[in-house]
């Protein structure tokens, strides 16, 4: 699909990835969505902004990804408070639109689900914290409202409420099961417990100081978030970081991917009762984190990627050390993979648990790691590559079974691919400069950034304000699309298999709740 086929005037956005942006009007809003869907494009994110401080009203924005480009559309609403509903075309839009309603008070007209999503009652129903006239230090209501779960009735149906406080030290989410005996009839998740007002806080930041906060939106994807953020800032500032910085960023991103996959592979074994896997994989992950600490100054690589480049360089000795580490890891993981593959009890738990068929994945817009396990062969490193991925010929790991075993195998495949990329990056590390400080960014500019984090594509949309400040920044975690699919994946499975299926997706709470 060329941006021209959208029959809307789109302008190319400067930046590391091919992206277009244009304004549209309400009639075209959902028509364009249908057209994009018809061409096989998918929904990246829906967000709103309040431009009242510029003498305008609110605006809605949407980003689509299609055939190697991002297409971003803005819909100025003027004094209107409604906009056409996208959810009939893209079911994944439902929760994003509910969040827009909670934060900005803009309503998708005709949307069937009008319940709040991120708002638990901490601010009143009529208030909109992302409006410019809402004080950032507002006291809020300090109470919570009841939530209307979809009722399920029938012979022998019972409800199991789980969370948000769990028996282990894990993140808060509420899961409402309706089960018959042990079989799950329906699952409904309620999230938003970790809503911290990150987007509001980002609006108080400059483009420089925002990087630090962007790196803390989802701690396990800090490199992906800071890179996407930096990409957006560099785009609006029209600068390009030095080649070495970009290669180092890719190295960091792959290290983040490997470390998270190792943690997940261990946890998946443990959730199936195979604690041996957890200790072995945790050991490998911990070794990696310690190398991160000693080379880059932070175990999870926070604040290493900055707008304009990176902070911290590798010396010749470090490169040898990372090469040796990659060799050791490769051998150890291959041995553990053989153990996982040959363990009948483990495979019995993994195979055919939590199936998402490729058809369902396509309908609901599953993407990222979980998507690739269900035949959705889309990887931003391959299909929307920024430098240096365009030179590395990344092979996306794709499986079609869509069960826990497929998601385990995608993780294994991706770890080996990341190790291969790591070696290439270490061999070809160019140049010497590692940072080109971005100058003053223009006011009212729009920039985007998107990189393939370990969970899936992380997207950042940046609207700049005057004096190098952030007017509106919308970070989008791939979990937005994938959380609703989890509810489908567990249907018909048994209740005790839910933790394993949930872990095989391992979706973000903090990155989603914002």
């Amino acid at each position: 699909m060329n941006p021209e086929t959208l029959t809307i005037g789109l302008n190319p956005l400067p930046g590391a990835i091919p992206a277009w942006h244009g304004e549209t009007y309400a009639l075209k809003w959902d028509q364009t969505a249908q057209r994009v869907r018809g061409h096989g494009g998918f929904l990246v994110s829906v967000w709103g902004s309040d431009d009242s401080d510029r003498g305008q009203g609110c605006a809605m924005h949407v980003a689509y990804a299609a055939s190697g480009a991002l297409a971003c559309l803005s819909l100025p609403l003027g004094q209107h408070r409604t906009y056409p509903d996208l959810s009939p075309v893209y079911p994944a839009a439902v929760r994003m639109q509910r969040a827009v309603k909670d934060l900005l008070g803009l309503q998708a007209s005709g949307s069937r689900d009008t319940r709040p999503w991120l708002r638990h009652g901490a601010w009143a129903a009529g208030e909109a914290p992302l409006r410019k006239d809402y004080a950032i230090d507002g006291a809020g209501t300090r109470r919570s409202e009841p939530y209307a779960f979809v009722p399920v009735s029938g012979d022998g149906v019972h409800e199991i409420p789980v969370g948000p406080v769990h028996a282990g030290t894990i993140e808060p989410g509420h899961f409402r099961f309706h089960a018959v005996g042990e079989r799950i009839l329906r699952l409904e998740a309620r999230l938003g417990y970790t809503h911290k007002g990150v987007e509001k806080l980002l609006e108080t930041c400059t483009l420089d100081s925002g990087a630090r906060l962007a790196g803390r939106i989802s701690g396990d994807s800090t490199v992906a978030y800071t890179w996407a953020y930096s990409m957006a800032v560099e785009g609006v500032s029209r600068i390009e970081p030095p080649a070495r910085a970009i290669w180092l960023r890719a190295l960091l991103l792959e290290r983040e991917r490997i470390a998270n996959h190792l943690g997940d592979l261990g946890a998946l074994g443990n959730d199936a009762g195979f604690a041996f896997g957890l200790t072995q994989f945790s050991l490998l992950k911990e070794d990696m984190l310690r190398v991160n600490e000693s080379l880059f100054g932070h175990r999870y690589l926070m604040d290493v990627v900055i707008p304009g480049g990176v902070r911290g360089d590798l010396r010749a000795g470090d490169i040898d050390r990372l090469r040796r580490e990659a060799d050791t890891l490769g051998r150890a993981i291959a041995a553990l993979r053989a153990i996982y593959d040959e363990h009948a009890g483990l495979q019995d738990r993994f195979i055919k648990a939590g199936i998402v068929t490729p058809g369902l994945a396509l309908t609901l817009g599953l993407w990222g790691l979980a998507g690739r396990a269900s035949g959705m062969a889309w990887d931003a490193r391959v299909d929307l590559p920024c430098r240096p991925y365009d030179e590395l010929s990344v092979r996306a790991a794709v499986r079609r079974n869509g069960d826990v075993a497929a998601r385990v195998n995608v993780r294994f495949d991706e770890v080996f691919e990341s190790l291969r990329i790591t070696r290439l990056l270490l061999d070809g590390l160019p140049g010497t400069a590692i940072c080109t400080p971005p100058g003053q960014a223009p006011d009212r500019a729009f920039g985007v950034g998107m990189v393939e984090g370990w969970r899936g594509p992380v997207f950042i949309a940046l609207h700049t304000g005057a004096a190098n400040r952030i007017h509106r920044l919308h970070p989008h975690d791939p979990s937005w699309q994938n959380w609703p699919v989890l509810e489908h994946a567990v249907m018909g499975n048994i209740v005790p298999d839910f933790p394993l299926i949930n872990k095989s997706f391992n979706l973000a709470y903090s990155g989603h709740d914002l």
């Binding site: 769990h166 199936a272 005790p496």
Partner: protein
């Protein structure tokens, strides 16, 4: 007679005191097998001490049943410790209950635990109770069948007599016992909430069986429930040793044989605990609906043991 009573009491006290150590040993072995350092064998004692020092929290709707259950269950396990010939056979209380009564004592503890879990009316308690009963109603018949093979061999359902026959009659190979032993091991895993049926180390509330039952307990109640579970594991281990490796258990109450029994017991338990840990480390948890298959297999093996005995050794 006084000496016998003293030994009876000593055996019970020893078992009650040693039970956490045995659980600690199994956990320590598991840690070693997973390349971990582990918290040490004494960890269960530290947990018990911590729990006994805490104030108990009760659910608002908890009835008398919920509060009484830890004591009832603990009492059942202590009673079992009196009956199972751990150090010596032929002790004063042992004729009071045979193996069938022993199965009944374990069942009593379990029924109260399941009732208490349902008493407070949380989803997890009810779920755990349901699963516990699913496992139990399959494990108990299998356990009874396991007992019948040695009972037929020794013509008695009394554990003391069985130990006498197996350990102190001229040595005979009983092929039926091999099948019974495997079946017993499978029942032991299921009844004590071990892998592959249940995972004693899990924090995932939706997968729990035993842990879901005690989820609402705290402080001294939880301590007693934990201690009772430790006792149950040790009771099963000593029961298995009495049936399938009875050598060393004192037959008469005199100094040398008691010292021998005291020396044999830790060695046998150490080996049994390490074997249990190895078995658990190697296995993943079964899907809950595979548990019936697992226990049906145990039942079949036990029946096979019985048939083997009848066919090969004749209905003597």
């Amino acid at each position: 007679m006084n000496a016998a009573i003293a030994i009876q009491l000593g055996q019970a006290v020893l078992v009650v005191l040693l039970a956490p150590l045995f659980a600690g040993w199994v956990n320590q072995c598991r840690a070693w097998l997973q390349n971990r350092r582990g918290p040490g064998m004494l960890q269960p004692y530290r947990v018990l001490r911590k729990l006994f020092h805490k104030d108990a929290v009760l659910a608002h709707r908890a009835s008398f049943l919920f509060r009484a259950t830890p004591y009832i269950r603990f009492g059942c396990m202590v009673l079992a410790a009196y009956i199972i010939p751990t150090l010596a056979s032929g002790l004063p209380i042992s004729p009071a209950a045979d193996v069938i009564a022993l199965v009944g004592i374990f069942a009593l503890g379990r029924v109260f635990m399941a009732l208490a879990a349902m008493d407070i009316g949380t989803a997890f308690g009810t779920m755990g109770a349901r699963r516990e009963m699913l496992v139990a109603f399959l494990a108990e018949p299998a356990l009874l069948m396991v007992f019948f093979t040695p009972a037929l061999i020794s013509q008695s359902t009394s554990l003391s007599t069985i130990v006498h026959t197996l350990a102190y009659q001229p040595f005979v190979i009983h092929p039926g016992l091999a099948f019974a032993a495997i079946a017993f091991l499978m029942v032991l895993l299921a009844e004590n909430a071990r892998l592959p049926i249940d995972n004693p180390a899990t924090h995932l509330e939706l997968t729990m069986i035993h842990e879901a039952l005690v989820l609402e307990y705290s402080a001294r109640h939880l301590a007693l429930m934990d201690w009772a579970s430790n006792l149950k594991l040790l009771a099963y281990a000593t029961m298995g040793l009495a049936l399938f490796a009875p050598w060393g258990i004192a037959r008469t109450i005199d100094g040398p044989s008691l010292w021998l029994a005291l020396a044999c017991l830790p060695v046998k338990l150490a080996v049994a605990g390490a074997a249990l840990a190895l078995l658990e480390t190697l296995s993943a948890k079964l899907r809950i609906f595979r548990a019936p298959e697992f226990l049906a297999m145990a039942f079949l093996l036990a029946v096979l043991g019985l048939l083997t005995h009848v066919l090969l050794e004749g209905a003597a």
